[in-house]
Symmetry: C2
Subunit: 457 residues, 2 copies
């Protein structure tokens, strides 16, 4: 069967759910942020794992490139089908297959989104903690090894997935992991698939860990004259074992932008930490007092608590709107978000270096960070021209290089996609990269799974 015959067979299989409509193809030509654009030859909307399996069998036989697509929130071009072929839109596979409160777990299809799941779980008194901000599909979060603001307490997607159902390049359906909390048998296929960005197979079902909704959630904010005071506070909080649920940083420029955009009253545009505490009334109060003590030791100018839902949600809405607040300072400008991560002991230096690089570039930028993990984002604003974008990319590259020199990584949560391929060699070394390629070739010998991603050709 040649490529054309395989395409015809796929069309026969999916009927109206096989689309070559140009609007449908164009809406699957890119994610967010990364400018790469390339429409697939067709978009298919499977409803079951078996359908994905039949499709991949055809693509394998016909040497047709396959790109998985969820909510399209990718920031590094993961979903851009650079070699054309078929894009597999998984959003119709959005069933919540089961929730087991006694085991604190759930089974879902890959197209379920984060908000959909948490809305469903609320009545069970449970929640799924991994929160990258956008309303991505959980399949996409697995594929890119996503994380977010809650990671410091609950871990990344990696720590919250117990097992997967995956369709490999030749259509084989594999169940990895299982329902148990841990297993010491066999290779860890679950974690091999998590973060493989659609290059080893397509994730269709996920067995998730859940958590009980805490009795009380408290927030706190404190600002510092010096960046170093903020970072030393983070280190002190982690060393003291205070089980903070979130610990987020914003620099002076971001605070100025957020104060204006989110109408925050009583805040000053200085390096600021925003905490969230989960627990009982007693433990939240204790965590807050301990965090305050550490912050004061490191020169915090103030320390505000907020346990009322309204005040808290205003603060966290401001945090979630940081991107839009920054953009509002330069209307009409483009924006690019870096995603480096360093060991926490190097975080102050990394942020200072990033500030210096921003200054040298002549561009404007703000910085926010999931500082409990050492992960920070520089929101670069640039004149919306080809030359402006090039300056922004050059600044991103410089910040990545700085992070690597400090023993850090290229991306804490956005992934490699197209945009960060050039740095993979530097972060992992030639031999690790060769080992990854060996695995890729063994599992996808025809190279049909999301070609042009992760590895430079």
């Amino acid at each position: 069967m040649n490529k054309g015959e395989a395409m015809d067979a796929a069309r026969g299989l999916f009927g109206e759910r096989f689309s070559i409509n140009s609007a449908v193809r164009e809406s699957h030509a890119h994610g967010e942020a990364n400018p790469a654009w390339s429409a697939p030859d067709a978009v298919v909307f499977p409803e079951t794992t078996e359908e994905v399996s039949k499709l991949l069998t055809l693509c394998h036989v016909g040497h047709i490139p396959v790109t998985a697509f969820g909510a399209g929130t990718s920031l590094e071009g993961h979903v851009t089908p650079v070699a054309g072929g078929i894009t597999v839109d998984l959003t119709r596979m959005n069933r919540i297959l089961g929730v087991n409160a006694a085991d604190l777990d759930a089974r879902i299809e890959a197209g379920v989104t984060r908000r959909q799941l948490n809305l469903f779980l609320r009545d069970h008194g449970l929640f799924f903690p991994v929160d990258p901000g956008s309303d991505c599909t959980i399949g996409g979060m697995c594929a890119t090894r996503a994380s977010g603001t809650n990671t410091v307490r609950y871990g990344t997607i990696r720590e919250n997935v117990l097992g997967l159902r995956v369709v490999l390049a030749d259509g084989t359906i594999v169940d990895t992991g299982g329902r148990v909390r841990k297993s010491a048998t066999g290779y860890d296929l679950t974690h091999l698939m998590i973060g493989s960005e659609g290059t080893l197979g397509i994730i269709t079902e996920i067995q998730l860990r859940l958590h009980g909704i805490p009795e009380l959630i408290g927030s706190a904010v404190c600002s510092f004259v010096e960046l170093r005071g903020a970072i030393e506070t983070v280190i002190g909080v982690m060393q003291a074992g205070i089980p903070v649920a979130r610990i987020e940083f914003a620099d002076s420029a971001q605070m100025a932008a957020s104060i204006a955009y989110s109408k925050l009253e009583g805040f000053i545009p200085q390096p600021t930490l925003l905490f969230e505490f989960h627990g009982t009334e007693g433990s939240v109060a204790e965590q807050m007092m301990m965090a305050k003590e550490v912050a004061m030791e490191h020169g915090a100018a103030d320390f505000f608590f907020a346990t009322e839902a309204e005040a808290r949600s205003k603060l966290w809405r401001a945090r979630h709107d940081a991107y839009w607040a920054a953009r509002a300072t330069c209307p009409g400008f483009g924006a690019l978000t870096t995603d480096t991560i360093v060991p926490i002991s190097c975080l102050a230096e990394a942020i200072e270096q990033a500030h210096a690089a921003v200054q040298r570039s002549g561009l404007r930028a703000t910085i926010v960070g999931h500082v409990g993990d050492g992960n920070f984002h520089v929101l670069i604003l640039f004149p919306d021209t080809v030359q402006g974008a090039q300056r922004a990319w050059a600044l991103d590259r410089e910040i990545v290089t700085q992070a690597l020199e400090l023993g850090g990584a290229v991306s804490g949560e956005h992934g490699v996609g197209i945009g960060k391929r050039e740095f993979l060699l530097r972060e992992h070394g030639a031999d690790a990269l060769k080992m990854m390629r060996t695995i890729k070739s063994a599992l996808d010998p025809r190279g049909i799974m999301n070609p042009g991603k992760v590895f430079l050709d």
Copy 2:
């Protein structure tokens, strides 16, 4: 270069650290518990990763089987070199290369043992939480995906390793992961190696996560007339989000044995839960009160607290001595420990089924469990004869089958080795097993790495 020439070259490379002494070879012929016995042709004691690399290059060229060996505490025959060849004893690679308190991490060589590390860390106010009981090497713990009593709070070895240095079958040295808390770039080679039981490469260095020693540690014990009350208490504690550090179970038979062996006063031989709480004085007190409330709701007969170090350590020593306490009830008998794990919602049923299987077998056994994870061990005592051992293995097999039928796994922490290969197909399915074999063949095409383990031939 043929096999003999490669052996000669290895001897030349290691000099006195290449041993064919029969006592040395015999001491590397087996681990603990699993009866498999097969001496290697030679034992080599490398002192650096580069030496391991040179050795594996020779073994690759000469098609010589290679088995890694740490403290020899394996329970499933992992270290038995069934095909002969060279055993690589890593105990000389026992340097602690660096501890970074600000980042809560450490870098160590694979031969460092758990106790050695924690003794070293104590002065830094830090500890490494994964505690399988025995004083195994941390390299061995990585290779077998070990865990233990602290897993419910701190995770298994999987959640506490940030990166590895690994020597692949052809001698290539690969660094996986890194110093950062998370990275979203590249395949997760770290977790592919963890649990691969020496069949994909040899781990020589490990980047570990550490934790601050808690301000206070508290223990509690409560007993139940009915097993189900104990298990429902565990589920209730987990759902309430009480961050217990340990939650261990012992059945009536084990309690009777431990009361006699460890001279525990004031305890009754009933299904019993043993808790440990980590935190500040306030949070430990709160956790204890909350746990007590849950236990009382589910019919606990009593609930004792112990925060004094002496009382606590007596309790936990009794828990660690459970194996010896059980053996002391049948002097001269052999012992075999099962290691199944089930979803917690099935745990009461799994333990009841195991009790019934023990009764049918006519053998004696006690049960202990890391019940926060759903993992439990049946300590089977059998007459020390070939027939007795066969009856014990048959009982183990029955308990494994019961766990698999309840959606569980063959092993929670002991691994596959030789002993549990026959069940891998049943736990993971033919397609997942094929995927594992594909990876194995790609990374070790000559099959020299720990042959005869994990997969049935």
